[in-house]
Subunit: 629 residues, 2 copies
């Protein structure tokens, strides 16, 4: 039987479908999403939650003329399937395949690229203002989750939008859950929806009563009218948004297609700033995802029938897991240690800590700026806060790291997970800039461990310092090395010499150390003897050891970061400061362009950052030297 989805090449075709066909389409979209994600992994739960909403948006509005601006964008799978990408959907999140996020280069229906949170209202205000300046007529719809709404950028956008009062529709996709459990006063506010039915009845009672009293003076009537209005705002989540100048509609059931169509059709005729509060369920329609929406938020390949996630390759502990166990252990020994995350307790490995030390654990929601400044306040009060964030999200807290932490030399530890390439999430999520932007900030100690055992020691080191420290480590498993039981701080600014060699030296940082070691071993069999240094510290550098290795005349630096401004560049700066001219340096890392999506190993290989690639670069350099010698 031909499916309805198979016939959809353009979202405008949805206008011709019956309600029954739309319901069937929803099921087909779910099936396709589950099938593809079971093979490729992906953001299953968010995308399943908005299937009906996506159908309703494309049915009522006219994309790409009307702009649907997705927030975060991991919920846009149904949108992708309905906008000409169903045939390529099997390549989702693979190298060369379609992105797991909206991307303008993929389709005119993706009007704004995204991956990070809380951008849609701001971008939507831009689209709405632009439209009005052009005197065009189209709708702008920003679809934002309740989790993303806690980000400061979303509020800045709301504040501006409310003032401008442009024709802008914000759709609050409220699943009472961001990536994990929702947090913040906003969440409490939204959850008051449960009482709205009661309030509705109470209001009717009041109206009836007031109408039945004949001797009301004009002013009291006015007051009663206001009281009625205010009842609505007091007892519904609309309060906040009406305070911001938005017309509030909802909450409505986000899986009820007729209700969604009716509401959107109504809103289509408005020309003010409107917020529609839609209640959805993460993972809707796929029981394993409904039962465990946090696991199925972003998940690897899984078995459709059982919902069991396929095991990864290695059995080695993940860096994330080792971080989580180590901070828990260190917190047992020092009650000044507190941990902060921004909506990523699982992703950063802090859940065990949170269970053991609930009063010393803080999930501030999607609010990286606050996470950092809050930590600075705790540090000023004498604590040792560890802020665990993903590398690319720490970019949100850059000013706070610089202005609130480093300028005051406060002992805040940044545990930077997902540093380097992260894989299928692609360019919005790769953490390949941190070494560059962190290195610019005075007073920050920057480390990267060569393996999961060293990660333990580096966390101890970071916590032993009187000033700020950053510790960056990748997504994925460690090397399976033995784990020391006794943890001791490393000597700050001291690297580790792993191998000697007269022909040159590889200076490697973090995960690149093991590849460098393998490269050097392979080269030795060819008669090329290169030293290998595990940098450990990107700042301060081990001047003594690096200058000694520089006497070989050839340094190859390797890092899981862009080459501009990173570790290799720090080596160039060190040589310049010590007037070491005549040393050939080759900096390996990601180039000065955004790195696409793909498996971590494949990306490293593509950019010459695996053992073979490093060996190749060293070999060429050595051959060049011999030829010119």
């Amino acid at each position: 039987m031909p499916s309805i989805l198979d016939g959809i090449t353009d979202p405008s075709q949805l206008k011709a479908l019956s309600l029954r066909e739309l319901e069937t389409l929803a099921q087909e979209l779910r099936t396709r999403i589950i099938e593809t994600c079971s093979a490729n992994g992906g953001h299953v739960a968010p995308s399943l939650g908005v299937v009906e909403l996506t159908i309703a948006l494309h049915r009522v509005f006219d994309s790409p003329k009307d702009k649907i601006v997705w927030d975060v964008g991991h919920q846009a799978y149904a949108h992708k399937l309905l906008t000409g990408r169903k045939d390529r959907f099997g390549t989702l999140r693979t190298q060369g395949g379609i992105s797991g996020f909206p991307k303008r280069v993929e389709s005119p229906h993706d009007c704004f690229d995204v991956g990070h949170s809380s951008t849609s209202i701001s971008a939507g205000v831009g689209f709405a203002v632009g439209r009005d300046l052009k005197k065009a007529r189209n709708k702008v719809l920003a679809v934002i989750g309740d989790g993303a709404m806690t980000g400061g950028l979303a509020f800045e956008g709301l504040n501006h939008a409310g003032e401008l009062n442009k024709d802008l529709v914000v759709i609050l996709n409220d699943n009472e859950m961001s990536i994990s459990e929702n947090v913040g006063a906003l969440s409490n506010l939204l959850s008051r929806t449960i009482t709205s039915e009661y309030v509705h009845r109470a209001k009717k009672d009041l109206e009836a009563f007031l109408e039945g009293v004949p001797m009301f003076g004009r002013s009291v009537l006015k007051i009663a009218k206001r009281a009625e209005e205010s009842l609505k705002t007091l007892f519904t989540p609309g309060m906040l948004f009406e305070a911001f100048g938005f017309e509030y509609i909802g909450p409505i059931d986000g899986h009820d297609i007729p209700k969604l169509l009716e509401t959107l059709e109504n809103v289509k005729r408005f020309d003010d700033a409107v917020l529609i509060h839609v209640l959805t369920r993460k993972g809707k329609g796929y029981p394993p995802a409904e039962a465990n929406p946090s696991l199925f938020h972003g998940v690897g390949p899984f078995d459709i029938k059982t919902g069991k996630v396929h095991k990864g390759k290695g059995g080695a502990a993940s860096y994330t897991g080792v971080f989580g166990q180590t901070i828990k252990r260190l917190a047992q020994e020092d009650d000044r240690v507190v941990a902060i995350t921004a909506a990523m307790p699982d992703g950063t490995g802090l859940t065990p800590f949170a269970k053991e030390f609930p009063e010393r654990f803080f999930d501030v929601g999607i609010a990286e700026q606050h996470a950092v400044t809050f930590a600075a306040g705790l540090a000023a009060e004498g604590f040792k806060p560890v802020v665990a964030l993903y590398s690319s999200f720490l970019q949100r807290g850059f000013d706070q790291l610089c202005h609130d932490v480093c300028l005051q030399d406060l002992p805040v530890v940044f545990a930077i997970d997902r540093a380097g390439v992260v894989g299928s999430d692609g360019p919005t999520h790769h953490g390949v800039f941190d070494l560059s932007y962190l290195r610019a900030v005075p007073g920050l100690t920057i480390m990267a461990p060569k393996d999961e055992n060293e990660l333990q020691h580096m966390l101890v080191t970071a916590l032993s310092l009187d000033g700020p420290a950053a510790l960056r480590y990748p997504r994925g498993n460690g090397l399976g090395v033995p784990m020391d039981q006794i943890l001791t701080p490393l000597a700050v600014g001291k690297g580790e010499r792993l191998r000697d060699g007269k022909d040159g030296a590889i200076l490697a940082v973090g995960t690149m150390v093991e590849s460098a070691r393998q490269a050097a071993a392979a080269l030795a069999e060819e008669g090329i003897e290169v030293a290998v240094m595990n940098a450990r510290f990107v700042k301060p550098l081990d001047t003594e050891l690096i200058l000694e290795l520089a006497r070989t005349g050839l340094l190859i630096t390797v890092e899981d970061n862009v080459v501009q401004g990173g570790f290799g560049t720090a080596i160039l700066e060190l040589l310049e400061e010590h007037d070491m001219t005549g040393v050939r340096v080759i900096r390996l890392g990601y180039p000065d362009s955004f790195v696409e999506q793909g498996e971590q190993a494949d990306l490293k290989a593509a950019y010459g950052l695996d053992a073979a690639g490093i060996a190749r670069s060293v070999r060429e350099a050595c051959q060049g030297r011999r030829a010119s010698a």
Copy 2:
């Protein structure tokens, strides 16, 4: 007659003063602030606005046990005078003198360093959480302006604070004006205070009426009670803050000491999250500042009697002014050009543009993140947005610049004012990191003009590009050079050779070019012939010219930025990429530490970045080469 202020060596002494003495003290503080600022310049209007509030805080609470966390911090002059710094107050904002902002190293009464906006609630939550973990007993008071409240970080802090419901007092210092006119829905909300008196009366009427009706059923009584409560929230600015879980008190007159004392004494007994809404007047008590609070927000030396600001030295146009005139002119020719600022229409020179193109001008308030993402939305809609921000505040929008603009290759122009050292505002405001953190981001063209004429051409160049561009220029006057009438885009990635020389080459960027030129001229008289290049582009670099100059064997790079990761480092990277070993490079710039406050010229001289300092570095390098030759 000995003044009261002269006798205050510790704020605890305020507890012994009579109300009359407190009033006198307020006058004395005002006089001292006006006197000092008339000589040194400073944030006159903000500090005059909170004199009574500062007195009341120190009278009721016990600093430093109780933590007074100032937001932005430019209003803390009275606080400084009352906390042991009155004798050094004459050194305010001078090199080696006391800071214009709170600084922990200056006094235990400054519990948190600040300079940027919207940090106080987040830091305050940190202090409150830390206190409770320690089971200590003290109050935490975050004093935040209505302008700062629009920053996303403030909302993230409010959201977390409201959820935790810690003993935390937020004092909203509402002067209905941030740095310039206030913006945003929040501002509209706050200004509803005007109606609160009416509402109060209306509420009384309703209560009286309801009490007079005997036959009310229980449920209707309940509803009436709620209606009464909701009236309060609907018609006062408390709505928003109560939505966030704060108890709201106010608005109260921030210049009425008895009222302030009464309110703070009451609040002292609470242990929930409370927000006190205080109405103040910027510049209060000094008529010229009251009349022109925007001018007196942050002002140079002025005549006390007339309030006339002393003229600066040169008559040359400021970079800011030239930017403002040029963008206005370019907007006349291209209606896609729109301008965005974050609460700095005067400071960024956009006021003339705003007057001529009000519908194409957007002051988004203190909301740098939104400014950037809003611009990205406009660019995606086909516009050419120019985002004018101060360099150090752009740090707030770093993720948005990277993720929302550069990743999509959108043609947003960043007009980065106050790049380099800014002077008396000191380390929180120096814009000395931008070249480093911007250089890491792929696809961004980065320019710096050697003079105000080149600034014009660079703005045209930036607007002619299909992708993002940044243009950074300093605070202060240009060189007084002739201004071209016809503006043409520069060749991207091409520098300008200003002088030839066989002994080496100075590669200079931005304001450093003129100093480099002077240095080269002085050196020529000593027989040292160095070339001078105006880099123009920090990214992409002029590879051809730089490699040619590198053949002299000596490159001296000069930039008004930190040395780590900046322009000089880009030169090292270029040489590495082209295997140009053996070239000696000397990178001049600010060191890897935060630069203190001081006059721009003095700071440059202190760090060897004036003509004499550059000449000295070149001379030493050349002498070293001759000695070793």
